[in-house]
Amino acid sequence: MQTKVAVIGAGVSGCSSALALLEQYPNLDVTIFSDRPFEQTTSFGPAGLFRLDKLENRKRALASFKRFTEIHQKIGGSAGVQLVSGHILSDDLQLLKQQEACMADIVFNFGWLKEHELKQFANPSKYAIHFTSFTTEGRTYVPWLVRNLKEKGAKFESRRVTSLEELGREYNLVINCAGLNAGELVSDDQVVPIRGVLIEVDASWHKHFLYRDLVTISIPSTTSLFIGTVKEVGRSDLVITQEDREDIWNRVLNLMPTLKNAKVLSEWIGLRPHREQIRLDLETRQTADGKAFTVINNYGHGANGFTLSWGCALDVVELAGSQLKIASRL
């Protein structure tokens, strides 16, 4: 009997997990469930700059970076992958040192600016780092993953999954990539939204990213420039407010005064699915009728979803490995 796999969530985590599985096991029967149009998911909006916040995720970050390197070389823009250079400015030396510890040996050209080099910024901070990294913008990268998935025979279903049991009856392996809703499915109350705001402006001459601390950001996309953001723990309203706009524009214009008259193309709110630690593990469950099925959890990526997406997907494949080898003739 062929193993049937269900993936809950068609964001970057769900799609990456499904694609990694199909690349490893090309004949796998995979169905991806999503409960809303892609444009309404957290994965739609991010500019997707590869950047890491926690040391414990370095291995997964490196695996993702390697993957983006490959896609960039072979496919580039149509996959939404760009090579971008830029800077992070901060008066907080520790913050920048943490960035160094996390990714100096993963990204390209990581370094510290010398004092005289800070003059190139309109309103410099005390310190600055530079590096060259990738962006994988959600609105282009995830649809590219979806196209790949469809080519490999993955099925997509629009349905809100309310319990794992519901899927366990039909599927042997359920991958829980439900992001902000993932906790609900497994009685885990540790997933907390962290509200973010991105404003898209028409400024295609900006070819670099520029941050002040990690909360005032500008990242070029394939067609525009994204500026932002906020990090509001526990807040989940999805409408941008005038207060959001004023706050963000003040900080961004202080960082980049030349954006003063830039035309706004769109505004977007995203809820980062935050958890103290990413949950990536395997558990066996039973349906009410006693049928055993396996659940692999892959959620709680917070602000690093895109950065860790491929590394986590590979970990999903590894966990799934033993299960798939026993149960199928692939």
Binding site: K74, G76, Q82, S85, S204, W205, K207, T223
Partner: protein, 332 residues
Amino acid sequence: MSVCVVGAGIIGLSTACILQEAEPRAQITLIAEKFSPDVTSDIAAGIIRPYADADPRKELMIKWVAKTYERVEKMALSTPEFGATVISGYDLDVAPVDPKVVWRDCLKGYRHVPKRELQDLGFYDFFQHGVFYTTFSLESSRYLPSLLKQFQQYGGTVRQQKLSSLQDLKEKYDVIVNCSGLGAGQLVNDELVRPIRGQIVRLDAPHIKHFYMFGDDHYVIPNSNTVVAGGTHQYDDWSTTIRAEDTNQVLSANYKYLPALKKSKIVKEVCGLRPGRSSVRLEREDLMIGEKATPVVHNYGHSGAGVSLHWGCAMDAAALAADSIHKPTSKI
């Protein structure tokens, strides 16, 4: 002081602007046959970088590039509407770049590219060495009109006129500044001026955020809305017709190094004639214009380095022009 500047390419426009700054009371008339978007400068991808080939006088080149970089950097911060923007990227080659190369101090963020990066970016099989740096690119479709507008706003006069010789100038000027580029060959009978034809292809590839200068004369440079893939250097070639074989050559080389470009749509092909000369002519010459002995400051022959040198040369040319008022011509 009345000045005539001949030529409205990047050299003429920048020289006229510097002259206005240096001599606010001067009456300056800019005369040119062509204006943007029909000048050679419009074809250029517009990146500031040191050119070894345009002139053998290394120190002078470094000075000119450094002054250009400095001024454009200020413009990028204060007047972004001029179209000068920061850009970073790679110069790649098979041979190692001299670590003591003198012009590196003009540039920001200069460093050698490690092998791992060259490999990961797919370049190592072709180029085993590279440097990365940050410089500026000029969007010529905005830069040139902005300079012209500024010149006019500060009281400069502009006239469209084709000159076959400086004798065609009927007005009396205290000094003439000759920024006629390729036209100087005919205008002042300079046999050293020769065209260096360049054909480029503009692509829709907005995901490219860096410039790439490949050691074999091919390159990819992003502008605001298109990416320039280049190029050719065809000496003494006066043809301004697009050639299919040049496009093929340009694209196949750049596709080899950046395979992802193959999916990018071609927007247009353009070609231009660089004002080639064995060295930049930047000097004063006193000529009889009609019955008047007139100092002429030449500022032409920048080959492919016009963008990289323009402010530095403009400053030197303006200084020579101002000087000429205080040191009038002796009898010719």
